[in-house]
Symmetry: C2
Subunit: 390 residues, 2 copies
């Protein structure tokens, strides 16, 4: 792999290659400094024309950027410059890609969260970050139900062209990646360790499969071990890259609930799989649904909440692939007659339908409910009904 490929995302900007590789090295160095987290990195990026300028600022200027005193001597002596260069060289050698904030190739949706990482390390195909992504996450100790549903929903969404993001953890995360691959979809794993660390070990093979078409991403420098505190931090990347996050199973204090909360804070959709209230693993999703997360019965429930253009594209594609519409013939004569009483472009009052139908209120309510559940009509507030375009 040449240096050219190693920083392909940056090259597309037309920046001089040398300047960009320099910025990448300096960005790496910045992220290694103690006390300089993503928010501080963000302030540096916002206030300086070039992040490399931080290394020549005086104490007052450093302080005004919120950089803590402990970092000043390390900044002046460039203590981490050598390590940063080693990381950069290792990346180039190993085919790792660097995604830098503000440089094309850095995921757009992630720029919108309050604390995007300055740099992301990537293996695989970073260009798939341009696709529409859905995150599917959950507990590391799932039930069979949770595993099956994670796999099934991931396959359903992945096969329809949505990219599935998860955290490569044991349990639900692994099942989501696997399901997506089974559906011939593309999947992205966000790691809580360095991009070069395989964790958990049993996901070595899965990692290889993901990399064939997909992507591994981490904000942690190569070599970072999977410390427990890393995982909640990486969760914001999972939710931040996705249009919405589906919580499959999560017990009362599960990290997946944090991912859900982050998704809400990031103004993204939150979906949850309902489950029996007797199952501790369903506590989290049920709790989230109570808090406003959308209940998921099928992949359609996810697609229905996506931006309208994308939603229509996915649903139209689906309809085109469904041969014929056999279910239309399953309408009873009574149902078909009732359907005729409703319009596609105008609401009809229940009372009007009632009088025109000649049916009893309870029987009519029954039929309207059936038609609504089969997706042929919709009830609107005020007891109004419209027929849906099929």
């Amino acid at each position: 792999m040449t240096k050219h490929e190693g920083i392909e995302c940056g090259i597309k900007t037309g920046n001089p290659e040398a300047g960009l590789s320099c910025s990448i090295k300096d960005a790496i160095e910045l992220t290694l400094l103690p006390g300089v987290g993503c928010l501080t990195q963000g302030r540096i990026k916002k206030n300086l024309r070039n992040i490399s300028d931080v290394f020549s600022l005086d104490t007052d200027a450093l302080a005004s950027l919120g950089i803590p005193g402990e970092a000043y001597p390390l900044i002046r002596s460039r203590s981490y410059q050598k390590i940063a260069e080693e990381i950069y060289d290792w990346g180039i050698r190993e085919g790792c890609k660097f995604l830098l904030r503000g440089v094309p190739g850095y995921p757009q949706l992630l720029e919108e969260i309050c604390d995007p990482p300055l740099i992301l390390y990537a293996r695989g195909y970073p260009e798939i970050l341009g696709k529409s992504c859905i995150a599917i996450v959950g507990t590391r100790r799932p039930t069979i139900y949770g595993l099956q549903m994670a796999q099934g929903i991931a396959a359903d969404l992945g096969s329809r062209g949505l990219c599935i993001i998860s955290g490569l953890a044991r349990g639900i995360d692994g099942a989501a990646h696997r399901g997506c691959l089974e559906g011939n979809g593309i999947t992205i794993a966000i790691l809580g360790c360095g991009i070069d660390v395989v964790y958990p070990r049993e996901h070595r093979q899965l990692t290889q499969k993901i990399l064939q078409k997909g992507l591994l991403l981490s904000e942690f420098p190569p070599g970072t071990s999977p410390a427990p505190q890393n995982f909640p931090i990486r969760n914001r990347i999972i939710s931040g890259l996705a249009l919405g996050t589906v919580i499959i199973e999560a017990s009362e204090y599960s990290g997946s609930l944090i991912t859900a909360r982050l998704a809400m804070e990031q103004n993204r959709e939150v979906f949850a799989l309902p489950g029996n209230i007797t199952s501790p693993q369903s506590f989290g999703p049920n709790f989230l649904i109570k808090q406003g997360a959308k209940l998921v019965q099928t992949w359609r429930d996810v697609v229905e909440e996506l931006p309208s253009e994308l939603r229509q594209e996915l649903l139209i594609k689906e309809d085109a692939q469904t041969p014929g519409k056999p279910e239309l013939e399953l309408l009873s004569e009574e149902e078909a007659r009732l359907l005729q009483l409703l319009k596609e472009d105008e609401v009809t009052q229940f009372d009007k339908v009632y009088r025109a139908s000649g049916l009893s209120i309870s029987h009519l309510s029954d039929l309207l409910l059936k038609l609504e559940m089969s997706g042929r009509i919709r009830q609107l507030p005020g007891n109004l009904y419209v027929r849906l375009r099929k």
Copy 2:
């Protein structure tokens, strides 16, 4: 039993007894007429000073009330007068009570629905209709999960003084009545047959237990057999008598979904028990939750949606009965410190908490979520937090 007891609800109004018993007989006769349903009965009641006057109206007047032609000769010849008298006499003899619209004792909430029955036949203690009622309904073919949950939630609500209404059907309905009785609560069964018909037969014993403190109600004249079409009709009485209806399990086209729809139309709360999406019996509740029904994890989820005075009464009673508050000591030092940063009477912005806490965003989010789940704080729209009074 004396005549006096038989019409006790009416007597409380101070109406002359003779007049009321006459009205009751005429009301019964009216409900027996073909083509005269609850809506027509409602129009008659609304337009005539005394419903008995209907029997002396001319054709034009009858037509203007929406009474169909087939009924005119039967009205004029008082064809059903004798049967109505027999029903009345039977009721007095058997200790059946008659609840007549517009006469005190007729349930207030039922008056608010669009098609309340003109007369209700009651066995047991009609005065309990003055209590706050919650309906719990579901499929006749439940899973063990559904049965257990119906019984448990009914016991939890019943033991706290809420009256549990259901339809005495096999399955969930039976479990709801039983659970309420186990919790020493009072329960009301709404029948789809005459008040003198035991259906299903295996609920004979349950019926006796319900009657010890509770009530059987039916709008169908004594002797009416449990025809399938009666059940959706009686469902509106179940939802109409209750502040809210809890759907436990219901398959795709279950009558319980109709009860839920009726509850929505009647502007009552709808609650649903979530379940695994692989269970056909949980399709209905999950579907309803997607449509806006409140997900129920515990009895508290029901109580929280009740009118505020009732809610506070039930929750305060509960807190008073909970010895000490041991869980308060389970707060970690960090959580306790965080709690101090929030106020009970004023919202605090996330950002402010973040800066004051000195914690990382992800760790802080984690702690806030824990505090919210333990009911100590609440997040409000706009990323604002308040501390809840404990």
